[in-house]
């Protein structure tokens, strides 16, 4: 365990040095991250111009959902998604060998190698927006609700990672599908809308996407005090199942990896 902490500390420093080497790019990345953050808030504002509430969510709550989404996705893009994006390229170009030869767990090394600090600006934006909205809605935060909120954010992070990894593993079987990672970025948008929205659709159409609908809805419900234990247990069970499934598919796919000629 100590070895992993040491590796991660060095990776944090190395990624920070890379960031500082291209400062103009950092500025553009921050602008870009902010643009994506504002984008979703704009979408909700536009969609709710004439509709005060949808699916039992008021306009303020939908904006809060957008704020929490930005907090969540800021952390996810900073610490996880770029690694999975990178691994798709490594498989496509046949360079996965370098990852597999490292003396640490392959799944972990594919997850922690790259850190995109600029994405954390989305977390800051989302946190600011959420605080403002909570104050506006006169919702008071308690220590337990904040702890529970971050616990669900972490669970959501694990769930989204477990959702992405089996798709990445698929690329080992068909490297030409490396653009599936772009589709995963789009699929993550499913979590930006309330879970109740998908209840109207036939289960066979959205069954695969249902785990994603829990990711943002749960922590947001904690903030607006609509939290329920049944929904929480649903999230924990889905996390466990998806986590095990992701680990199994990754190991299974690696057994079929045939290096650069695959």
């Amino acid at each position: 365990m100590k070895k992993y902490f040491s590796v991660y500390r060095r990776l944090c420093i190395a990624n920070w040095n890379v960031l500082m080497a291209y400062r103009a790019d950092v500025f553009m990345q921050i602008v870009s991250s902010l643009a994506f953050s504002v984008n979703h808030v704009f979408i909700i504002l536009l969609l709710t111009v004439k509709v005060p509430s949808v699916y039992g969510w008021s306009r303020g709550e939908l904006l809060l959902l957008a704020g929490v989404y930005n907090m969540f996705i800021g952390i996810y893009h900073a610490f996880i998604s770029r690694n999975l994006n990178h691994i798709a390229d490594e498989i496509y170009f046949g360079r996965l060998d370098y990852v597999l030869l490292k003396p640490i767990d392959s799944q972990l090394s594919t997850t922690i190698w790259k850190i995109n600090y600029a994405s954390l600006i989305r977390f800051v934006f989302g946190a600011g927006l959420s605080f403002y909205l909570l104050h506006d809605m006169s919702v008071s935060l308690t220590v337990s609700s904040v702890v529970l909120f971050f616990l669900f954010i972490l669970l959501g992070m694990f769930l989204l990672y477990s959702f992405w990894l089996p798709f990445i593993s698929l690329i080992i079987f068909n490297p030409r599908l490396s653009n599936i990672i772009m589709l995963l970025y789009q699929l993550t948008n499913v979590s930006r809308y309330p879970k109740e929205m998908y209840a109207r659709l036939p289960v066979y159409m959205v069954a695969v996407l249902l785990p994603l609908t829990l990711i943002i809805t749960m922590p947001t419900k904690v903030l607006v005090q609509k939290f329920s234990y049944s929904l929480a247990s649903e999230l924990v069970i889905v996390c466990l199942v998806m986590g095990l499934f992701a680990r199994f598919t990754w190991k299974f796919a690696l057994r079929h990896y045939t290096s650069a000629s695959s």
Partner: protein, 265 residues
Amino acid sequence: MRYVRILALHIQDVFQNRGRSFVYFLMGLLNPILQLVFWSGAIAEGGGNGALWTFREMASYYLLVTVVISFLVVHIEEDVAFLDIKEGLLAKYLLRPFSYFISKFMEELPWRMTHGFFAVVVFVAFMMWGRISFPLVGEPTRIALAVVITVGGLFISFILKMLFGLLALWTTDFWGIWGVEEVVFWLLAGIIMPLSYYPSALAAVAYALPFSYIVYFPVIAVQGSLADIEMIRVIGSQLIWILALSMLYRIVWKKGIEKFTAVGQ
């Protein structure tokens, strides 16, 4: 003729990568569908008339947006910026006796055709499955005008995205510009909802910029929501944008190519 041969080769390439092509198509499909689901709930909760528009109008708009995005929204800027400029592949194009601009157009066209085909299949399937009849332009003259607007949208989209891609000649990294461009395009092209439902100030900005001529106007032209005179006005505006962007492209290409170092930026 030589460009037709290049096109034929790229068509083969796209068919070889049909799975990849389908994944790209799904990416364009997802967001309009999410908005359609969002609105369908809003309309249902309002008893069918509480929102801005009816389900039929909404479904027609978002499905046509999917078709138009698939046919017209070019993604060549990523190739230009990341592969050609950042990784230095532009050098091979410069050594060939073909125009870079036309070569890239021939590369992109088969992708647009394939995605458009997938989108039309989805559109027809939805019409048959949902048993919904959508308003579509009917008279031959108006169909011809709608086709001209659609083709105009493709040209604007292509030149604009080529211009964005060439900006990588001045920047080390393109991710930042790409992100801003994506967001601005999303907001101002009419993908989120029809521009006529936007707040007036934002709608005025959207009408003034070229993005709406790539998605919004082709969609409402195909829907038959534009009067003849408005269609001609849109074509006129598209021509002005094509000319202006082409001139800008020539300037940017001339200035930018002097900065290209052939081994990646």
